[in-house]
């Protein structure tokens, strides 16, 4: 008898929880559909969104330090219109010097790109030589390099890295502050690299090799900086 009552009880509970669930899936459907329709109507696709996200990060990280992993860029329906929602987890604003340095680095990068484009027109072999030298130099202090390989352009990648080394020289006055920042960033970067590696499995191994170099370089660099700090103290 007990079993029978337990069974009835379960069925009653099932009945009520099921109706609740139904309400929920209705809302799920409504929201999914709204979003899909917006995407269809505006002809927006995830590829475009991802590019936009990358460029947003590049732009914003000139002015603020943020948690890039948590940055959200979404299109959400709002009153029959499509709203671009950008949620940025800001850690802190950058100070004047850093902003100046970032802007300067960007200008330099632009110049470099222009120069390189010119050189490429004149002589393509020069590029290869450049690549070899850059490997020894780069440091990973800036925000720019993290999203530069969205387009999987390994060349672009190296350019930004070199630009970043110049930036690091400019900001070296606050070694302690910088280091804190760096730890956080490194974590993010590695996460991002993992994701990217997964995504780009089919791509050529060029980028992943670079990432490896990158990590080794990072470790070395950190040791150096630790030594420096000890000396100072």
């Amino acid at each position: 008898m007990k079993e029978i009552f337990a069974d009835i009880y379960n069925k009653v509970v099932d009945f009520f929880t099921k109706t609740e669930e139904k309400d929920k899936t209705k809302d799920v459907a409504r929201n999914r559909l709204k979003l899909v329709l917006m995407q269809d109507r505006t002809n927006l696709n995830p590829r475009l969104l991802e590019r936009l996200r990358g460029e947003m990060i590049d732009l914003l990280s000139k002015y603020v330090v943020m948690d890039k992993e948590l940055l959200e860029l979404n299109f959400t329906p709002e009153d029959d219109q499509l709203a671009l929602m950008l949620s940025i987890p800001v850690i802190r604003a950058k100070d004047e010097e850093e902003i100046e340095a970032a802007l300067k680095a960007e200008d330099e990068e632009k110049e470099r790109l222009a120069k390189l484009a010119q050189e490429a027109d004149e002589d393509e072999d020069d590029e290869a030589d450049d690549d070899n030298n850059e490997d020894d130099e780069f440091e990973n202090d800036t925000e720019e390099d993290e999203n530069s390989d969205l387009e999987d352009n390994s060349q672009d990648n190296e350019e930004t890295k070199e630009a970043s080394s110049e930036l690091s020289e400019n900001t070296e006055e606050h070694p302690k502050k910088k280091k804190k920042k760096k730890h956080k960033k490194k974590k993010n970067q590695q996460l991002e690299e993992n994701v990217e590696n997964e995504e780009n499995k089919q791509e050529t191994s060029n980028t992943s090799e670079q990432n490896e170099n990158n990590n080794q370089e990072e470790v070395k660099e950190e040791q150096n900086e630790e030594n420096k700090e000890e000396h100072q103290e």
């Binding site: 139904k22 209705k26 999914r32 559909l33 269809d40 696709n45």
Partner: protein, 271 residues
């Protein structure tokens, strides 16, 4: 590895081609097969919604055909099952954006690394149908026990028979309502099979769970309790060559009839 290429078609719209594609594909993948689902309904894609992958589509079949990306890049992996991939249709183009030959060569390429390629065919018998069937060697004709659906299914069967590369085709009867059949208000499964004289591969009962599962973007085969889910599971088994009996779909569905059936069972036992 040489995979099998199946096309899910019906002629009439709204009989459950896309639902069938999503569920059979998921069931086959759950059984350990490598499966690729291809949505060929250019301009009216929906398979992505049923699988809950609508926000992950970066490249579509048109991008592959027009060589903007590699075939592998365009395959969207399912959220739950890594064995299952979707090749989505383009939403902004029409049926003329690809040709049957192009789809055939895509299937040939996918065959090498997958066990099953399942093509979701658009409704109608025009270009879209010709494209979708071009690469397939087997077909599943979906119909409901309604006059218009059966008539269109018969037309489709005629067209499939004329295609030499279609080696076999089977009938899947969808949205069957045992209650209506009992009161002789709906053609029975046997009636439809007799009219179409086609081998049956599955009987799927009408199930409200289909609506909620579509809402969630999760095929109903993932719900082990649901009758329609079990029926789709059985279809997948039959495709894999197992001999499975047809499910008894005359089971109580709503709460009241469940309670009724429960007490009836109880009295039977007592007696």
């Amino acid at each position: 590895m040489t995979g099998r290429v199946l096309v899910i078609t019906s002629g009439k719209g709204g009989v459950g081609k896309t639902t069938t594609t999503a569920n059979i594909g998921t069931a086959l993948a759950k059984a350990g097969n490598k499966v690729v689902l291809i949505d060929t309904d250019l301009g009216l894609r929906n398979l992505d919604l049923l699988l809950g992958l609508e926000n992950r589509i970066v490249y579509t079949i048109v991008d592959v055909v027009e060589e903007r990306c590699k075939l592998k890049q365009a395959l969207v992996k399912d959220k739950k099952n890594p064995n299952l991939c979707l090749l989505a249709a383009a939403q902004t183009r029409d049926k003329t954006a690809i040709t049957g030959e192009q789809l055939k060569s895509i299937c040939e390429e996918l065959k090498e690394e997958n066990d099953f390629i399942i093509i979701d065919c658009p409704a109608g018998i025009e270009q879209g149908f010709e494209n979708a069937t071009a690469g397939a060697s087997e077909a599943i004709v979906v119909a409901t026990p309604e006059m218009s659906a059966v008539r269109d299914a018969d037309r489709i069967i005629g067209l499939l028979e004329a295609k030499e590369h279609i080696e076999k085709y089977n009938l899947l009867l969808n949205r069957v309502r045992p209650n209506l059949i009992k009161t002789n208000d709906m053609m029975s499964v046997d009636d439809v099979v007799e009219i179409l004289s086609c081998k049956l591969i599955g009987i799927i009962p009408e199930d409200t769970g289909i609506i909620t599962s579509t809402n969630k973007g999760e095929p109903i085969v993932n719900d082990e309790k649901s009758l329609a889910g079990q029926a789709y599971q059985n279809v997948a088994k039959r495709i894999m060559g197992e001999d499975v009996e047809f499910l008894d779909i005359d089971q109580p569905q709503d709460f009241i009839s469940k309670v009724k059936a429960f007490f009836l069972n109880l009295f039977k036992k007592e007696a």
